[in-house]
C-alpha cells in the first residue's frame, strides 16, 4: 500500500519535469541552450501566485473547466500502474474508466473554451473533438488488443509484466499496438506533427487556442493537467518495454523514470525533425492509428 501511494505521488511530482526534458532536447537540436529543466514548475508556481481576469461572456463553466479536468486527470493517474507494479486503484475494466476520465477532462476543457464565445476558442474546441473522435477509439482498440493478448482487462494486469512476456509469442502485434498508441499519444498531448505547442498563430493551434482566455490559477491547473496527462499516456508506451523484474522496487522505479525521460527525449527528437502536418492531413494520420489498432486486434483473434 505504501509503495502504491508513493508511486501515485511520484507521478504527480515528476510529470512536469518531462516537459523540461523535451524543451532541452529541442533546444539541443536547434543549437540553443534552452530553458531550465524545471521551467514548468517555475511557470506553474508563478501562475499560482497571480490574480485572475475573466471574460464578461463566461459563466461558471469557464471556472469549472480547469478544476474538473485536472481532477479527472489526477484520478486517472491513480489507475495507471508504475513500471508493472499495480496502481493505487485497480479493478477489472478500469481501462474503460481510464479512457472515459480522459474524456471527462476533454469535455470540460472544450466546454470552458466554448463558454468564452470567442471564435478562436471555438475553432480549437472543434478541432480537438474532431481529432479525439479518431484518437479515442484507436486507444480503446489498442488497449483491447493488449487485454486480449494478456488475458487481463485492468491496466495493472495488462502492464504487470504480461506484455513483456508476450513479446516472444506476439511481437508483431505489440509493435502495431505501440505504433497506434504512439500516434494517439502525440495527438492527445498536442505535440508535433498533430499540434505545435510552441506556435502562436491562433489559426493553426488546437490545444493552446482552447485555453487562450484562461489565466492565473486556472491556467496553472491546465498546464499541470497537461503534464500529468503526458505522463499517463507515456506510461502506456514505456510499460510495454519495461516491466517489473525482480530487481527490487527502488531499482525498477528508477529504471522506469529513466524510461519516461527517454520517451520525452524521443518526443523532443520527433518535434525537432518533423514538421507539423497540414490540418486536413491530421485525420488521415489518426486513421492510420485506428487501422493499426484494428489490425492488431484482429491479429490477436486467432
Amino acid at each position: 500500500m505504501h509503495t502504491k501511494i508513493v508511486q501515485f505521488i511520484l507521478i504527480l511530482i515528476l510529470s512536469p519535469f518531462l516537459f523540461g526534458v523535451i524543451n532541452r532536447t529541442k533546444a539541443f537540436f536547434a543549437g540553443r541552450k534552452g530553458s531550465p529543466l524545471l521551467q514548468l514548475y517555475y511557470d506553474i508556481f508563478k501562475l499560482l501566485r497571480k490574480g485572475a481576469v475573466y471574460s464578461k461572456t463566461t459563466t461558471w463553466i469557464f471556472v469549472a473547466g480547469p478544476i474538473v479536468s485536472l481532477s479527472a486527470v489526477v484520478i486517472a493517474s491513480a489507475l495507471i500502474p508504475f513500471t508493472g507494479y499495480p496502481s493505487l486503484i485497480s479493478f477489472d475494466g478500469d481501462i474503460v474508466l481510464f479512457i472515459y476520465l480522459l474524456g471527462l477532462a476533454r469535455f470540460f476543457t472544450v466546454m470552458a473554451a466554448l463558454d468564452t464565445g470567442s471564435s478562436f476558442e471555438g475553432m480549437g474546441a472543434s478541432r480537438e473533438v474532431q481529432f479525439a473522435a479518431f484518437a479515442e477509439p484507436s486507444l480503446f482498440l489498442s488497449l483491447a488488443a493488449l487485454a486480449r493478448l494478456t488475458g487481463s482487462i485492468s491496466l495493472s494486469g495488462i502492464f504487470s509484466s504480461a506484455v513483456i512476456n508476450s513479446w516472444a509469442a506476439f511481437g508483431p502485434g505489440i509493435y502495431l499496438v505501440f505504433g497506434a498508441i504512439f500516434i494517439v499519444f502525440l495527438s492527445e498531448n498536442s505535440r508535433i506533427p498533430v499540434d505545435d505547442p510552441n506556435t502562436h498563430l491562433e489559426l493553426t493551434m488546437i490545444h493552446e487556442v482552447m485555453v487562450l482566455d484562461h489565466g492565473g490559477v486556472d491556467f496553472a491547473y491546465i498546464l499541470y493537467g497537461a503534464a500529468v496527462k503526458f505522463w499517463l499516456l507515456g506510461t502506456l508506451l514505456v510499460s510495454m518495454f519495461l516491466g517489473a523484474c525482480s530487481r527490487g522496487w527502488g531499482i525498477d522505479v528508477a529504471i522506469f523514470i529513466f524510461g519516461m525521460i527517454f520517451l520525452a527525449v524521443i518526443v523532443g527528437i520527433v518535434e525537432s525533425v518533423l514538421a507539423r502536418l497540414r490540418l486536413l492531413k491530421v485525420p488521415h494520420f489518426l486513421i492510420i492509428a485506428l487501422a493499426l489498432s484494428v489490425v492488431a486486434l484482429i491479429l490477436t483473434m486467432r
Binding site: V96, E202, V217
Partner: protein, 566 residues
Amino acid sequence: MNIVFCSLTIFIMSGLLALSLNRFVKLANYIGAIGAVCACVLGLSSLFIVYNSPGCAELSIPWFVPDGSLSVAIDSLGALFLFPIFILSALAALYGAEYLRHYYGKKNIGSAWFFFNLLIASMVLVVISRNAILFLLAWEMMSMSSFFLVLFEGEKKEAAQAGLIYLIAAQIGTLFLLAMFILLSKDSGSFDFPGSQITAPGFLHSIIFLCALIGFGTKAGFMPMHIWLPEAHPAAPSHVSAVMSGVMIKTGIYGLLRVINFLGTPCVWWGWLLIFIGIVSGIFGILFALAQQDLKRLLAYSSIENIGIISMGIGLGVLGMSMNNPTLIVLGFAGGLLHVINHAFFKGLLFLGAGVILHETGTRKIDLLGGLLKKMPVTGFCFLVGAAAICGLPVLNGFISEFLIYFASLKGIFGSGITVFVCLGIIASLALIGCLATVLILLIAALRQMLLKGRRVERVLTWDCGYAKPEARMQYTASSYVQPIADFFRGILRTQKHGPKISEYFPDVSFFKTETADLFSETVFRPALKFIHRLAERLTGVQHGQLHLYILYILFTLIALFIWKL
C-alpha cells in the same frame, strides 16, 4: 394488480374528463395533468408491492376473443420498463401543464391531455398484457395516441408530413408484429403469451425473430427503420417528445426482449445481428445528430444512437444465451436494460430542456442560439448535466450502463467467467473513485478560492484578436463547430451547402446554408415509395367510381373465398 387497474382507470377517466371539459381550458389542463400524475404515482406504488411479493401480480379472465384469455401480469422485466414509464410520464405531465398554458385558446388542450393520458395508459397496457390480441390492441392505441400528439400542431406543413411518416412507419411495424404473433400462436397453439420454452432454434423461430426485429425495431428506431424519429420528435410538443423518446420507443425494446424470451435458446447469428444493428445505429445515429441544426431533431438522432447502444447490450446478452455464457448474459442484458432506464431519464431531461429553450427563445435552430447559460442558468445547468450524462461521462449514470456493455464485450472476447466477488470489487472501486473525484474537485476548487483570496479578479471582454467590437454573431456556431468532422464524413452525411460563390474582395450581402437529409430515407425509402407509387398508379384503372362494378369486385372476392375454403 388492482392498483395498476386503478391507475389505468384514472388515466382514461381524467383524459375523458379533460376532453369533455375542453371549453374550460384551465380546468381541462389541470385535470389532465393532475390525473396523469396521480395515476403515475399510484402505478409506481404498485411496482413496490410487486417488488416485495413477485407472485401476486397476475390476472387472467376469459373474454370474448377466441384462443386465449384477457390476461395481464407484471413480472420483473415488465416492472423494469414500467418504472421509467411512470416516473418520466409524471414529470412530463407536470411540465406539460405549464407548457400547454402557452397554447390556451390556440389549441385544443383537452384533446391533447386525452391523447397524452391515453398514450401512457396504452404503454402500461403494452407492458403488462400477456395476450397477443390485447398486446396488439394496446400497441395500436399507443401508436394512434402518439400520432395525434405529433399532429398537435398539425396545421404546420412539416408537422403534418411528420405525422404521415410516423403513421406509415407505425403501421408497417404493426404489420410485421401481426405476422409475428400469428406465427407465434401457430407455434404455441394459443394467443396467450407462452412461457419460456427451451426448444432448439428452428427455421420458424428465426422467421419470428426477424419479424419481431423489424416490427419492434421500427418503433425502437433501429437504423434502417428509424426515419420516423427525426420527423416526429421535433413536431410533437416537448413533453410528448420526452415521453416518446424516453419511454415509448423503449416499448420496442421491451417487445423484442419478451419475444426473445419466448423463443428459447436463440441462434448465434441473432446476437451478431443485434450487435451489428447496434453498431450501425450508434455510429450513423450520432453522425447524423452532429449534422443537424434543429435541436429536437438532433436529440431524436441521438435517441437512435442510444437505441443502438441498448441493442448492442442486448445482442451481447443474446450471444451469451446462445453460447451458454452466463457472464455475457448477465452483463449484456444488465447493460442494455440499465441504459434503457438511464436513457429515459437523460433524454427526457434533454427534451424538456429543449422545450424550455424553444418556449423562451421561439426557435429550435441551434445556430441562432448562444449565451443561454447566462440568460437561463437553471435550464442551462440541467441541459449540461443531461449532455454530460448522455456522453457517458463518469460520475453520471450513463457511464455505468456503457461501462457494463464495454465490460461485457471485453469479457466476451476472452470468454472468461466472472464471480460475484469481482463484481462487488468493481462496484466498490467505482464508488471509491466517485467519492475521490468529488473530494478532489472540491479540494482543487477550494485551493483556487484560497489562492485568489485578496487578489485582483477582473472581468473584461473576451480577447478576440484585435477586433474592436466583438459581438454575438462572431461566436462559433454549432454548424461551424461540427464542420470539420461533418466534412470528413461527407460521403455518408451528404450535407448540401448553399450559398453564393465569393469572387470579389468585398463581397455583397452573403448567406450560407447547409442541410443534411437522412441517408436512408433519401437512398432507400424515397425510391421505394416512388416505385410503389408508380405501381399503385397502374391500379387506378380499377378504381373508376362506378358503384355496380365495385359490387362486382366484392362478389368476385366472395366467390374466390368460397372456392378457396370449400
